[in-house]
Symmetry: C2
Subunit: 889 residues, 2 copies
């Protein structure tokens, strides 16, 4: 079934707006071609073809080959060369290019079109035999790896053996004859492994390569990357076929990568690296340590000037920092790729602010330019002190922020023990990283590599995910076998030893250094001030202690949206709480409560003092009673077992058995659906009455000393309006009595958490009794789906894998299900009580996409953990600017 | 705060339509007054006053007393007498009267206005000293009991003592002098108990009595009754103050109660009883066994004729069976009350059909006249045989149907051991019953009383709640002390012995007799045929076996709406299922499945054969795996404990420990929210694949032998459209393969149960993949409320008690929450898939109010347990007739 749509686009036929169709790389190659930059000619096969190919059992759609040939013929005519023509051969590259950049995740083939005949012709034309055989052996290796599935490592092993034999240290030490020999060795290795010849037909090479690039959309590391980056699986990749230009044609050739501004810090200075006499992959993969781009100005001022000009044209054209790949072929500059430069959170902020000051973008655009998610990177801790005596090495400051962790020397270990695994603090130390290391990097506190520069894979990932990173730290050497890292001074550190890295400065310290949170200042502060002007949503924080409250205030929180009181029943207070729960008489119960009251009052005084006149929403006790009895149950059960053996029939055994039985009475089949939240308060009102006495008592105390707390009391788990009505009446009496006893009046109101589906459905009733609603989207999501997070481990990963769910709904609000319920609730509540305050305090409150949704349905505020407050502030501003930033996943 | 509303209504000012305001009794007294029947004059205080009184701290609203006095003055003028006037005293009764009749639940005061002076005046006027003192002592007793809280029993004890002393057997054996003495004794007893005099001021008596009647709305037995009858707590009772007429003024006086038709069977013949020289309470309370109403024709033909005429007028006027209280005072007939006659289910059906045939009501009216809930009574089992040698007594057939149970001699025991308690089959045997026995009666299979007639309390309750009952069985005597029941022949039965009663015939048998289900025939059949013509909803049944399916077909089921397959994994198949769950390899798993497949196919063949071409909805396996492992877990745990002691370190211990660990891996924190339903099928598809092979294989087999099964396969617990899509694709392949192997095509479709809130919210997506939806309102209710039935026991009763919930939402659909969700689901599903079949298979499918709701939101069918099928059929018809029957609770 041939499609009528145009499936193959020559570069000059496209433009930057066609990212969906041509991928980021293809769209930008087209745009650059059209604005007159020196782009080697070529064409792009669309992402739609990729999807058709993958869905259609991995067959190229009918008619596509004809279209490719037609485009190829155009390029051949332009270049005056022909693919596979033994007399005048064209060489091309075949590269992936998806809508969103996925650096290093998919495959690339270079030097396509080489075979024994064309190689010979090019040798004759260029007179550079070594260059041709080097290119040929690379092509054989790449093609075998990517297209035919014989791993690159096998070929590199052959090369290493040869270099050993020859006593060669670097690739460049191997001469033309040996490169030719290597090409033959590679081809015979391939034949041995697969029983087939290396395909010498250039058209066959091209078709197989196009398929291989499409296939690479579905490889494991690409999938892993998309999962982490929340990129849709349905986008597909385009394929770019482009005339080869060569950076390895001698001393007047070279290749490099540069950013128009510093992507780690945002500084307005060209940032990048190049290598003379090398192909692009040598730079990107970080195999050879390249030279700083500024060296080019000395080495080749003319080319440097040309490149500077290109940078200016591109930044002006796109009004955005560009990440540019270039090649110098025999003194001539070619631009191979440009794209928005990925940058760290802090750099994104600085660049956005600078572009505004340069009057190139508006403040609104600046706000939309910074991914809210990245903002947390601006909050990376910094080193408290920088003790010189602990410095063990210096390297390139590739990813800012301080990180403290135990050395691990491979990514598998990092993944197993790090954040996503056992939750230990590890720090990944590698000679260099490659795309396979992604998972391990994401699991570690920071990354330290011995090789590779500022644009190496490690640096790229560091910037994108905000991982504190030092690259190219030549002062360390790694012994993977003995699991050690040795510094230049000869100090040997073992895997598991603690080190600290300062990614901002590029310095490695031994041991665990103290860190401190940063402050919001400079461009960050200015940027957040702008953001705040554009948002309608208020941002509060979830904080349970005065310390957390203070931190959140530092990040700009406008109140507490959720103060959980459970922790106030734990620690050394737990035995008292257990006495309370297991009390036999009202007397015992009262005694336990009398102990707890002054302690709780103290907790609240601290919080009210910290928050000043900002609102503080306190949730009354919520969890099922059994949660407080787990340790005592264990202990009692053991006691009973021992006593049965040692003192059968004794009175003490009898007592313990009765106690155990009493504890077991608190067991529930489905504790999430049992006696908790307001149900508990209705059955055993004493605890919440004590809490109200403590809260209002604390507010009175603070008011007497000049404060003015704004107290919002949140009754959890309401599903029936009468629950709220009854408790409100009952607790209001306690509040009034407390104020009377204290002789002060304080401001307080009652509201509820919307976490039971029925609460949302009957909002029109409940809103009449509530001053505020706060969506508890953690429980609301679980109940709406009928899925408990504790039990989902046995099927949710399978659901994500099989694409039954695009993502875990506890990460971002499920708009069609939970979101629909929220919308019903908001509309119904406002209709009967226009003054009601509506917010969210589930973990979604700090997720940018969820914040956008909360804005859209008209909430008044979101509440999130302290460190997510700036993220939420920015997301709220972006939502209000009708974010064009939000990706259409 | 005085209300502007009319709060006190003279009888002639009201009418039958004012039931809300005047209560049923008041409204009918007004109506009868206006149609010219001989009603003693009086007035009614409205139900609104009751609510105002109860909410306002039990104080009569300001101004009310004036209004009462005004109405009283009118009555006094009409009667030419005055309340409390020592020379010409008026006596009145003060009675309760709510919107819905609550017989015997609230309080009544008779003979009000008596004191030493007025008594003397009436003696002089009537010359009947005994009558006056009898009335006076009754008044003192009633007033003390109802108004002052000194229990009636204390006074009856005094009377009994006196009778013993006098050697009197009956009350009538006590002469005037002793009645006077008794009055004095009563008053001094009261003074001793309360330290206050009996109030002699008639106006004070009246006011206190009005308050007492209002208070009685809130007594425990009234509350219990309303809970059972689902009568709203907010209605309140009216108070009727009415001129006394006396049935105890001698041989030419009397009192009685009669139905215009037989309320037990529906037969068109006057049905009732009377007592000469008695007050009404003697008949109602069943203290003296009264005389059949037909005797009156002989005893006093003129009055009988008059009364017959009244019956005719009233039945004509109301076009409905009437329950009439009358009094004959010195040969003059007075009508004291009329109301719709409460009747049994079978009687309701017969009367409705007869009234249609008499052309007094339409078929539509007939349909609306029979409470659907009562229809299950038509399905009471009947005795299979009636062995004469086992007959031990005969009595009055007060409540039709056969009942088999163990004798219990008091209501507390019945409640504890019966239906609502330990679930044993008990049969309550009492001398007579009173309102306090209600709970015990409802807990027993049937009721047998030694005293009391067809209109006694026991008979009334029996008819209303459809309890097989025999009354006035004078052939037995009960010894509560020795816990025995003795028959006339001298046989002694002990509490706990089994007896059988046939309430239709009035015969008591010894032992457990076999019963059989009835058939639908005669008027019942005709009535159901009419009902079926008026309904739009189809009625299916929930049946898991061919036997259940056959029973439901007998009751008119139009298909199976829910066939659960869980039971097919139990019994002697359980060990195989356990092997399947705990299998270590695919081989072991397959072996276990191969064992189960033919067994399951057999189950389905039986069901398909029974159901013919009617649709059969089969739900695939649903419960969490751990439910199948409970017994093996217990056993293995014990084995491990023993082996640890006897064979520590042995291989067998090791194996058992591993097995235990494997079983424990199936534990979940919240199994309701865990790995079950379709989640299980996605993670372990083998089980459902086997089920599909069995279902489709069975259908093919049946088709080959001439059948044509209509198979609907229901995938449970879907909350995400992709769950359904994935499983449908996967299972469809199995179905196709099975049909191919069998060489037959059968009709089948896939659908889902809507039981997770998200399924309802995203119906627009899910409906595109489903041929049908069936609301699983059990789980849907639990998830919408966030309440698990298993755990609700610790708070739901308190919720009902505190009126946080009007009733358990698992009984009748919660319209504002769960119902709203259902409505959203229906509308969204139909919008995208107009052909989708929509039904309900939760327990609500057999609840008449829920059926009405299902009709209103446009479902296609309801499915319920076999015995609820006729109930649902009628409810569906009533819903379609825009039921005016449905009570506005």
């Amino acid at each position: 079934m041939a499609s009528n749509k145009k499936r193959v686009w020559l570069f000059h036929e496209g433009n930057a707006k066609l990212r969906d169709l041509l991928g980021g790389k293809g769209a930008n190659l087209a745009e650059m071609t059209n604005i007159g930059l020196p782009v080697p000619p070529g064409f792009t096969i669309t992402t739609e073809v990729c999807n058709e190919y993958l869905k259609g059992g991995k067959k190229l759609p009918a008619g596509l080959v004809d279209e490719v040939n037609k485009a190829l013929a155009y390029v051949e005519k332009q270049m005056g060369k022909k693919l596979g023509d033994p007399r005048n051969p064209l060489l091309v590259s075949v590269r992936s290019g998806a809508k969103f950049s996925m650096p290093g995740m998919m495959d690339t083939i270079l030097n396509l079109g080489l075979n024994d005949q064309t190689a010979q012709t090019i040798i004759e034309a260029t007179g550079n035999e070594r260059f041709v055989w080097d290119g040929y052996r690379r092509f054989v290796m790449m093609f075998s790896d990517v297209v035919l599935g014989v791993e690159k490592e096998e070929f590199e092993h052959i090369f290493t053996q040869m270099k050993k034999r020859l006593g060669a240290k670097l690739d460049t030490d191997v001469d033309a004859a040996n490169m030719k020999k290597l090409t033959v060795l590679f081809k015979s290795h391939l034949k041995k492994r697969l029983g087939r010849e290396f395909p010498s037909d250039a058209v066959e090479q091209l078709q197989l390569s196009i398929c291989a690039v499409f296939n690479s959309w579905d490889n494991d590391r690409a999938k892993e990357y998309r999962k982490k980056e929340k990129i849709s699986e349905d986008l597909g990749t385009a394929v770019n076929v482009q005339t080869m230009v060569f950076g390895n044609m001698g001393a007047d050739s070279g290749t490099g990568v540069a950013f128009t501004r510093n992507p780690a810090t945002g500084e307005n200075a060209m940032f990048g690296e190049y290598l003379m006499n090398a192909q692009g992959e040598d730079v990107v993969a970080g195999v050879r340590t390249p030279v700083d781009i500024n060296e080019l100005a000395k080495q080749n001022p003319e080319i440097y000037k040309q490149f500077e000009e290109v940078c200016k044209i591109l930044e002006d054209h796109y009004r955005e920092v560009q990440d540019i790949e270039f090649t110098i072929e025999k003194g001539r500059l070619f631009i191979l790729q440009c794209r928005s430069g990925k940058r760290t959170g802090p750099a994104a902020v600085k660049i956005a602010v600078d572009l505004v000051k340069e009057k190139r973008i508006t403040r609104e655009e600046a706000i939309l330019r910074v991914p809210a998610e990245q903002l947390e990177q601006c909050l990376h801790p910094r080193l408290k002190d920088r003790p010189k005596e602990k410095v063990i090495a210096k390297g390139m400051n590739a990813g800012p922020g301080a990180a403290v962790g135990m050395i691990v020397l491979d990514s598998a270990t990092s993944a197993r023990r790090g954040k996503a695994g056992a939750g230990e603090k590890v720090l990944l130390v590698r000679r260099q990283t490659n795309p396979d290391d992604l998972k391990g990097m994401l699991s570690s506190q920071g990354v330290l590599t011995a090789e590779g520069g500022r644009t190496s894979h490690a640096a790229l990932v560091a910037r994108q995910f905000g991982i504190p990173t030092i690259c190219g730290c030549a002062e360390i050497s790694i012994d993977e076998k003995n699991r050690t890292m040795t510094t230049r001074s000869g100090a040997v550190l073992h895997e598991g030893d603690w080190i600290t890295i300062d990614g901002t400065e590029g310095i490695v310290y031994t041991g665990k250094l103290a860190t401190e949170p940063p402050t919001i200042s400079g461009e960050f502060k200015e940027f957040m001030t702008w953001a705040d002007k554009y948002r309608r949503l208020k941002v509060r924080t979830n904080a349970d202690t005065p310390e957390q409250a203070a931190e959140a205030l530092n990040w700009g929180a406008q109140g507490i949206g959720l103060c959980r009181t459970e922790h106030m029943f734990l620690g050394d207070r737990l035995p008292k709480v257990q006495k309370l729960i297991l009390a036999d008489s009202d007397g015992e119960r009262k005694k336990a409560l009398d102990h707890l009251l002054p302690l709780q009052r103290g907790d609240f005084i601290g919080i009210f003092k910290t928050m000043g006149e900002l609102p503080v929403t306190i949730r009354l006790i919520d969890p099922p009673m059994h949660e407080f009895l787990i340790d005592i149950e264990q202990k009692t059960r053991e006691d009973v077992m021992v006593l049965r053996l040692t003192k059968p029939g004794s009175k003490v055994l009898d007592q313990k058995e009765k106690l155990l039985q009493k504890i077991e009475e608190h067991h529930e089949s489905n504790p999430m659906l049992g006696l908790r939240g307001c149900r508990l308060s209705i059955v055993f009102p004493q605890i919440v009455e004590m809490q109200i006495a403590a809260i209002i008592g604390a507010a009175c105390q603070v008011k007497k000393t000049g404060g003015n707390p704004q107290v919002e009391i949140m009754i959890p788990l309401v599903g029936i309006v009468t629950e709220l009505r009854l408790l409100k009446e009952q607790l209001d009496m306690v509040a009034q009595a407390t104020m009377k006893a204290e002789g002060v009046k304080v401001t307080y109101s009652f509201g509820t958490m919307i976490e039971v589906p029925r609460a949302a459905l009957t909002a029109a009733e409940i809103a009449q009794e509530a001053a505020f609603f706060s969506f508890g989207t953690n429980d609301l999501t679980q109940l709406t789906y009928g899925i408990s997070r504790d039990d989902a481990g046995r099927f949710l990963p399978i659901y994500i894998d099989k694409k039954i769910l695009p993502e875990d709904p506890t990460e971002s609000i499920d708009r069609s299900g939970v979101g629909k319920l929220m919308k019903i609730c908001v509309d119904d509540a406002r209709a009967v009580n226009p003054k009601i305050k509506l917010g969210i305090c589930g973990e979604h409150g700090g997720d940018p996409r969820s914040v956008v949704f909360c804005h859209q349905i008209g909430l008044d505020y979101v509440s999130c953990s302290p460190r997510r407050v700036p993220v939420a502030r920015l997301a709220a501003a972006q939502a209000n600017l009708e974010s064009t930033f939000e990706r259409d996943k």
